[in-house]
């Protein structure tokens, strides 16, 4: 077919299949918006919700020392769940550098 070898045909078939799958996903997202949640790699899917994190979860990240990890839990217990992750900056000992490190591991929901 078209003077292509079997290997070359397999490559063309693969590329066509990927393009077709991409087109299908694109159309599904437009017609059924909730599909986007399943087809996009979300950053939050690999982070921990700060409102559900235990002391061990925070310590395991090595982003903050034990005392500050305790303060994070205490703040949550006294003031209710975190609405924004930026609320962590209100805790003594968490400045920009530590906050940027915590942002890699946690989200607030």
């Amino acid at each position: 077919m078209l003077g292509l070898t079997q290997q070359e045909r397999q490559v063309v078939v693969f590329l066509a299949a990927v393009a077709l799958a991409g087109l299908g996903i694109n159309i599904s997202q437009k017609l059924i918006p909730p599909v986007k949640k399943f087809v996009c790699a979300e950053s939050n899917s690999v982070k921990i919700n700060i409102n559900q994190a235990s002391l061990e979860d925070i310590l395991r990240t090595r982003a903050v020392p034990k005392k500050i990890a305790g303060e994070i839990i205490a703040f949550r217990d006294n003031n209710g769940p975190y609405i924004y992750l930026e609320q962590l900056k209100k805790i003594k000992g968490i400045k920009e550098a530590r906050f940027n490190k915590l942002k890699e591991f946690f989200f607030a929901e």
Partner: protein, 467 residues
């Protein structure tokens, strides 16, 4: 018995390196022993057993002397000139790689020419790692000459001393050398490919695809890496032989479609493999795979049958000659042990399965994937348990599903780059598929990690306590 001398020489050379790390012997003395063994091998060549032993002794003492020699620092080395940590030292040198920016800090390797400390200017050599914060000056790239002032530290476990330049500290770009070498071309291609991937995929998907295709791991979220260590699938985030194979195949195919004759086609494919090796940072797994691919291409060109034992040994020998310290690097150990396990264990494991099951068309792909993963896991679990203190029973089933998906993502990543360059209107379609596959692989990985008994952390035991 068909003996391959190259694997034997490689093993003996490695033993020489290992012995040199444990024993202290003057390298001149070990060179002398090597020379004596060589004379014995040459003069007693008719007495085969003695000649064989003498030849192996030559290789052993060469490995010993070679490693001992790398431990001797030249007089101009920064380690000899600056014996301890130094506050406020000014250095001049050339960028040896592309700067990497992570958490607002830029880091790169600097090849030194001059160091100034306590008003004393000294010519020096060697490399340092520079960590630069809050840099707002002109763009820095491979080959630029710089002058920097900072605090020099010598962390015991790191390969090079570290120069930490504080935010607002002195950084002066002296010259921008327009290098045109293979490494520069490779790094430019890598930058272009990275830009294409970032433009078409979400942050997380782009980070994962860049790691798989370009060997750029800096944007991988720590929790993703941690999760993949727990499932024993972290190796998919490392550029490996599969990627090198794809690049060599794509290059070969394009040249074949362009009706390039056989001999130049092989030469171009070798050049493309070398460029990809440089572009991905020439890490041990990529270097190993590139050397093996080049051997395969040369063998194909010369119409000789490729031999995996010889090509693997040649790759190990070349890497150890370039840097004998690689023998103790976990990346080197895992890269070679996994290939050796697959080559030697896989046929033996396959023979244990009944022919009826092996011949089943539907079971065959899953069975082969399972056996390859099992062979690699059996070979590497000891190393992983010792170095990372983790035991992951879920590795084999996880790899059966995740490795084929990772292979698809890699293929889609390359297709996305090619589409962006040659048919930009198709790029969004390839990016959608790639994004979807990344989402699936992350969800699948999380599922495996959350299974009961998926992984265990091991206690911190010393070397002999493991026996």
């Amino acid at each position: 018995m068909n003996l391959r001398p190259l694997p034997v020489f490689t093993v003996v050379f490695s033993l020489g390196i290992a012995a040199a790390s444990v024993l202290t012997l003057n390298p001149v003395f070990s060179c002398l022993l090597s020379a004596i063994s060589l004379i014995i091998a040459a003069t007693l060549s008719k007495k085969l057993p003695i000649a064989k032993v003498a030849l192996l002794a030559v290789v052993f003492f060469l490995g010993f002397a070679y490693f001992s020699n790398t431990r001797i620092q030249p007089k101009c080395s920064i380690n000899q000139i600056i014996s301890s940590n130094k506050e406020s030292i000014t250095v001049k040198g050339r960028l040896m790689d592309e700067p990497v920016i992570k958490n607002s800090r830029m880091s790169f390797t600097l090849g030194l020419k001059e160091a100034r400390s306590d008003n004393l200017v000294t010519s020096c050599c060697g490399k340092i790692t520079v960590s630069l914060g809050g840099y707002c000056g002109p763009e820095l790239s491979y080959g630029d000459e710089l002058s920097l002032t900072g605090n020099l530290r010598k962390p015991p476990k790191l390969r090079y001393p570290v120069l930490r330049v504080i935010s607002g500290g002195h950084v002066n770009k002296l010259a921008s050398k327009k290098l045109f070498n293979l490494k520069k071309v490779s790094l430019e291609l890598k930058k272009i490919s990275g830009t294409i991937i970032s433009a078409h995929l979400s942050g997380l998907a782009a980070a994962i695809v860049k790691a798989m295709v370009l060997g750029e791991k800096k944007d991988i979220p720590p929790l993703v890496a941690d999760s993949m260590v727990k499932s024993g699938t972290i190796h998919i985030l490392v550029v490996s032989g599969f990627n090198v194979g794809i690049v060599a195949f794509i290059g070969f195919l394009i040249l074949k479609l362009a009706r390039i004759p056989r001999q130049p086609r092989h030469c171009f494919a070798i050049a493309i493999t070398v460029i990809y090796c440089f572009a991905t940072g020439a890490s041990t797994p990529v270097f190993r795979a590139a050397i093996m691919a080049i051997f395969f291409l040369i063998g194909n060109l010369l119409k000789r049958e490729p031999d995996i034992g010889n090509s693997l040994s040649a790759a190990a020998l070349i890497i150890l000659i370039l840097d004998p310290r690689q023998l103790f690097d976990i990346g080197f150990q895992l890269s070679f042990v996994s290939v050796i396990s697959i080559v030697y264990l896989y046929p033996k494991l396959k023979a244990l399965i009944s022919e009826k099951i092996r011949g089943n068309r539907f079971l065959k792909p899953f069975l082969e994937g399972f056996l390859v993963s099992l062979a690699a896991w059996l070979g590497t679990m000891g190393f992983i348990a010792y170095h990372f203190r983790i035991f992951t029973p879920v590795t084999v089933p996880a790899n059966i599903f995740i490795v084929p998906l990772a292979s698809l993502i890699t293929l889609c990543g390359f297709s996305l780059i090619a589409a962006s360059l040659f048919a930009p209107f198709l790029a969004p379609l390839f990016s959608q598929s790639t994004e979807f596959l990344v989402a699936v692989i992350l969800k699948l990985n999380n599922t495996f990690v959350n299974l009961p008994g998926a992984y265990f952390y091991l206690p911190n035991l010393g070397g002999w306590e493991w026996v």
